[in-house]
């Protein structure tokens, strides 16, 4: 038996530690995702948002921490991607307008909740076939490598996607060609309603990387600073030409799989336990107050500011025009 030729990630990301202002900025981004999605949930119950709507509430520290480590890198995500888009810098107005199906949305109202794209932000979408987008990340990695861009591609998916053939093929190719891709499995323990122990013999999805000899790490994702640091280390590793990385980031979604899911499959008390001890916003708030001495007033001001942005997003979306029926065929073939 040969030993696993699995490389190790660097101990440190090399990113400068966050000061109070830096952490407060990340806190603000998490609160913004939370509030935009709470408003989206409200809009959904009012039938202003239709179709599928998968909320990220509870997982905000993952996207926000990762964005802080990879501001100029490419991201590609699945269908629970409002939070990733906002973290990557896509405007709340355009995200909300897309959810409302308006012409001012990120995808002109053509994509909806699952298909948010913003080329300027290097946010390469939201995809609705579980695991189907993972191979695309390798293509971005391929282009980065050929053009010596010095960037990486972060590819997000859930624990459910780690059972798809497309995912396994993508890991094989990424490692074979040492592509600068960081695969991020956000393990929230439920693939729709099927819990992780009912889906998989191994419940640490990062172990999937061992089969292809890829660098891997499992981490808890509730502390935004920790996510920033470890995603930073993974991105540094990939950026420096050492090949791809597979991270499993443990997280927890507070809502159902989608708006129509009451999430009755959870054991009693599980959600409450996570809300009490692993709530990313509460953890960061406590850290700001206790370790950085940020005042309650300052934090309240952040909430107030975010509230205005989220409400403005709602108003913008609501007052925006529907797509013009004359444009129906405009984006089938590129000229």
């Amino acid at each position: 038996m040969s030993e696993l030729p699995t490389p190790s990630l660097p101990q440190e990301s090399g990113l400068p530690p966050l000061d109070a202002e830096g952490l407060l900025k990340l806190y603000r981004e998490m609160v913004l995702i939370r509030r935009v999605e709470e408003l989206a949930a409200k809009a959904y119950t009012m039938r202003k948002i239709l179709g599928f709507c998968h909320l990220y509430i509870g997982q905000e520290s993952v996207a926000v921490g990762a964005a802080s480590a990879t501001p100029d890198d490419y991201w590609i995500a699945a269908y629970r991607e409002h939070g990733h888009a906002l973290a990557k810098g896509v405007s709340a107005n355009a995200v909300m307008a897309e959810l409302f199906g308006k012409a001012t949305g990120t995808s002109l109202g053509l994509g909806g909740s699952m298909h948010i794209f913003d080329k300027d932000a290097k946010f390469m979408g939201g995809y609705g076939i579980v695991g189907g987008h993972v191979p695309l990340a390798n293509g971005v990695g391929w282009a980065i490598k050929q053009r010596n861009e010095g960037r990486v591609c972060l590819c997000y998916f859930g624990d459910g996607a780690a059972h798809q053939g497309a995912f396994f093929e993508a890991l094989c190719l990424a490692q074979l060609w040492k592509l600068p891709v960081v695969f991020i499995c956000e393990n929230n323990f439920y693939a729709m309603g099927t819990s992780i122990d009912r889906q998989s013999h191994l419940t640490d999805m990062s172990l999937r990387a061992n089969g292809v000899g890829m660098a891997r790490e499992q981490l808890r994702g509730f502390d935004v600073e920790h996510v920033r640091e470890r995603v930073g280390a993974a991105a540094k590793f990939a950026r420096e030409g050492n090949g791809p990385v597979m991270l499993e980031i443990i997280t927890y979604r507070h809502r159902g799989h989608s708006m129509s899911d009451p999430a009755k499959y959870r054991p009693k008390g599980e959600l409450e336990e996570y809300k009490l001890n692993s709530e990313p916003l509460a953890l960061t708030k406590r850290r700001l107050e206790q370790d950085f001495g940020v005042s309650a007033e300052r934090i309240a001001a952040v909430h107030q500011e975010v509230e205005a942005v989220a409400e403005e997003a709602w108003n913008f979306a609501e007052s925006s025009p529907d797509p013009d029926p004359a444009t129906l065929y405009d984006h089938v073939y590129a000229e």
């Binding site: 995809y127 189907g132 191979p135 390798n138 293509g139 971005v140 093929e169 590129a334």
Partner: protein, 327 residues
């Protein structure tokens, strides 16, 4: 003018496009060191190197998806499937990603990619290696589906496909890679979406594409000897369909037979018949007939396989039926 086999015409198209545009690369199984399973890419590794002529593991879903992602950020991949039969394990990538990304991103991300490889039956390859996939891909808005019969068309169309900003499924044939044809020395392009009249006639239109052009050419000769003037329309592009050329030919002849490989049920022929009855009903003097593969998985035995495939005899009989010469 040079007389070259189709595989060399395809290779010339790829070489010229790779010389003019550094973002073009070829990726697939055995395309580099092995020189291509059917020698289409012979010598290209030596010319362009391993970063642009790329051997892959047997992982169609993985490398088709890689091509799509690379296309989104400005590269122009040519993804070779050793045969289109194998594309079915990459079907989700082509259909749900390549075809839809431009639209679902609100026009932000183009996907300029070519998927190419041999399509349809060769000989005695049995059920899993003989599928004609045109209807499977032409079904989807967002994809273009292009094919050819001659070396001239093969080169001009593949060059256009590589330059196209939308995903193109480019369908070749193992059976005709060695078939020679005249190809000009100077550069030329053939536009996608333009059919070509391969033989002019006035009594009946035979509509076809790909290597069935040759079956129909034989039928045209037989019909001629029987005093029937058949027009042979080679679609060359399945999607977007050149409806103008189709309708003009049928307006002239008033009678039509569609000849296709692949199954009749939901086949491309069914779409053409539907288009003709919608738009040319008053111009038709007889119902449109189809000659297709028989509706069974491809059998291995030679006699049964011959029975399954379109043949000149079947085409002649159908043409005579729409002309009222046979029942």
């Amino acid at each position: 003018m040079a007389l070259i086999p189709i595989r060399e015409a395809l290779r010339a198209a790829m070489r010229e496009e790779m010389q003019r545009d550094p973002s073009v690369f070829l990726m697939g199984e055995e395309v580099a060191q092995y020189d291509g399973a059917y020698k289409v890419s012979q010598g290209m590794l030596a010319e362009f190197g391993p970063d642009r002529i790329v051997d892959t593991p047997i992982s169609e879903c993985g490398f088709a998806g890689l091509g799509i992602g690379a296309a989104m950020v400005g590269m122009r991949p040519i993804i070779e499937f050793m045969t289109w039969n194998f594309s079915l394990v990459a079907y989700d990538q082509i259909v749900n990603s390549a075809a839809k990304i431009y639209q679902m991103s609100g026009g932000q991300y183009k996907v300029p990619i070519v998927f190419r490889g041999p399509n349809g039956a060769a000989e005695n390859l049995a059920s899993q290696h003989s599928t004609s996939v045109e209807s499977l891909y032409a079904h989807f808005p967002g994809l273009k589906v292009v094919t050819y019969a001659t070396a001239y068309d093969a080169k001009g169309l593949l060059k256009s496909a590589i330059r196209d900003d939308s995903p193109v499924c480019f369908l070749e044939s193992e059976m005709t890679y060695g078939m020679k044809g005249e190809v000009p020395d100077e550069e030329y392009l053939i536009p996608i979406g333009k059919a070509d009249i391969k033989a002019e006639g006035s009594d009946v239109t035979l509509v076809t594409w790909g290597k069935q052009v040759f079956t129909c050419q034989a039928a045209v000769e037989t019909l001629k000897s029987q005093g029937v003037s058949a027009e042979l329309l080679d679609l060359r592009t399945i999607r977007p369909l050149d409806r103008e050329a189709l309708f003009n030919s049928v307006a002239k002849t008033g009678r039509c037979v569609v000849v296709q490989e692949g199954y009749p049920f939901s086949g491309v022929g069914a779409e053409i018949v539907a288009q003709l009855q919608e738009h040319c009903f008053d111009l038709l003097d007889a119902p449109v007939l189809r000659i297709t593969n028989r509706d069974v998985p491809q059998p291995y035995a030679t006699n049964l396989e011959k029975l399954v495939m379109p043949s000149a005899e079947r085409v002649v009989t159908a043409a005579r039926r729409v002309l009222g010469l046979e029942r």
